[in-house]
């Protein structure tokens, strides 16, 4: 995972609550077997009409927001499907952080594991950033994970993040390697599991 320390870039306002992962990356683009190449399809149905023409009103199509790096949105961002493709599409399009009032649990976990920083701010902070981005398009935001701050123009907010999650992002740590340090404990747990536990090799009735 690419480490995250301090990133900056244009703020892109998406002033909606409950932005679900079906909107972030519609299902017709989930059939690839790679992690890359999803950026062109980010928010596909909001960005393009049914004929594939760009919708000029949608924020990602407005030239003043081109190359955005920090997406700002309402509460419960990333709800719905568990598809990690939603995170990959945001990253592939150039986003490095999403600032929102709250995130759906699975999306937030996926983002942390892929190096897209989910920043939770109180409603007033999100509102101020949305207003700044809307009133002064092209405004730059700075997301500093070491300092745990988001700043833009005269605005500056401190955000909370679990210390362990922060360390993993700062160092780009590999979760699997961390867990495998507990190999002995995993093996000990396995040795103590009862015989009735699910076992895919144990069909009592013959599989054909």
């Amino acid at each position: 995972m690419r480490p995250f320390r301090c990133e900056h870039g244009r703020l892109v306002p998406l002033d909606r609550a409950d932005v679900d992962t079906d909107q972030i990356i519609p299902k017709q683009f989930l059939k690839r077997i790679e992690r890359t190449g999803y950026g062109d399809f980010l928010f596909n149905d909001w960005r393009y009409d049914a004929g594939g023409r760009s919708r000029p009103d949608f924020v990602l199509n407005r030239p003043e927001y081109a190359g955005g790096a920090v997406l700002v949105a309402g509460r419960n961002f990333g709800c719905g499907s568990s598809r990690e493709h939603a995170v990959w599409a945001l990253q592939d399009h150039g986003f490095r952080a999403v600032v929102a009032e709250s995130f759906a649990d699975i999306f937030r976990g996926n983002a942390l594991k892929s190096g897209l920083l989910p920043v939770t701010l109180p409603p007033a902070g999100v509102r101020a950033l949305l207003d700044l981005a809307a009133q002064e398009p092209g405004s730059e935001g700075i997301v500093d994970l070491e300092e745990q701050t988001v700043s833009a123009g005269s605005l500056r907010y401190r955000f909370e993040i679990d210390a362990f999650e922060r360390r993993c992002l700062l160092d780009g740590l590999d979760d699997i390697a961390l867990t495998l340090e507990h190999s002995a404990a995993i093996a000990a747990h396995e040795a103590g599991r009862p015989a009735w536990m699910p076992n895919v090799r144990r069909a009592a009735v013959g599989s054909s």
Binding site: R16, R32, S81, N110
Partner: protein, 470 residues
Amino acid sequence: MTSRTLFERIWDGHLVAQEPGGPAVVYVDLHLVHEVTSPQAFEALRLERRRVRRPDQVLATMDHNVPTAAAGAPDEVSRAQMDALERNCAEQGVTCFGVGHPWQGIVHVIGPELGLTLPGTVIVCGDSHTATHGAFGAFALGIGTSEVEHVLATQCLRLARPRTLDVQIEGDVPFGVTAKDVALGVLRAVGTSGAAGHVVEYSGDAVRRMSMEERMTLCNLTIEAGGRAGLVAPDDTTFEYIRGRPFAPTGAAWDAAVAEWRQLRSDAQAGFDATVSVDVATLAPTVTWGTNPAQSIPVGGAVPDPAALSDPAARDSAQRALEYMGLTPGTRTNDIALDAVFIGSCTNGRIEDLRAAAGVLRGRRVHEGVRVLVVPGSAQVKAQAEAEGLDAVFRSAGAEWRSSGCSMCLGMNADVLQPGERCASTSNRNFEGRQGRGGRTHLVSPPMAAAAAVAGRFVDVRELSEARAS
């Protein structure tokens, strides 16, 4: 011994390690895998030269992309994804029930029906509706692809301990009200993110009286309230459902299992972080009008006016939803005409759902111009329905009888709505474009979907049932 909730009992029993100041390492008993969220995980294992740690605890199937029409063939990209799953499973020694296998089906339907979903276990799947398995008293949660890779490699999940929410469901379920209506009622009470960060335990008399399939429908929709997992304490209903299934424990192992499962409950004094009560006696058959599953009204009711909502975000969301859905405030559900009906999905694609829908359709005809798809949740559900003659009921009513898969719940295969088409659906999400770009989804129960198929618009299924009785 301090009092514990059911969730805390399962959590404590699966705690392998605790990172200082970090997440817990939790052991996973069963990992369910499907074709859409797994290829990048297997690829990453290959690049790191890692092996699947416990192939005997991983089961793969194909459900999201599979064609459901008799002569249907997957498109080239879907085929490549299905081939990749077969290749990955063969390479890593993982069991895969692919298309054509008698045990293939929607991942959340086959786990329970095969007897792999067991009380007191931890179950994960790269799919948000994994909460379904919580109906058995399993801690079952949806995960992303990076976590799929992590579980394949380590058989563990790294997780901060969630909080607990007790949803107490009491009262006598009125005639015509199903588990789907109860779940939609819970969503109205909790909201789309009210359960975020929480494991939800469903308790109360009404839950105790539910069948396993009804409990699965209830738990399935937990994610729509943002919950990490849903849980129902196991009881004799649970044990009777599991007994004798292909992978269920037998003999001494069965006896030991049941003895342990009987301990799986929340102590009377156990503290939950939050509690919500729902009185089912006040519920009616329900129809969603918006683009999130919490936006619903009783059948016969009127689409609400967003202007009446005090919360700006909710008002904005309702306004957008009405625009997308092509509805105006005050419209009665009975005046909403339909183009399509979908009966199926991991929410409502099991045999009891199909029986309920067939019960309404028997001897009736689908309304002219309405396309009705009936898609069993698994190959076993399909075979059972055919043994009971339900397929003939659906066919003679004018519905299409399909093979098992996720189908029009998310429209990854050929089963999609056209722009502007309106559908009564027994699935779980009415998000914009969920069933096809521009498609308009109304979530309902199976009997309500069947009644809508006959009338060509929403009608109160209780009136149809009474017409039959008189």
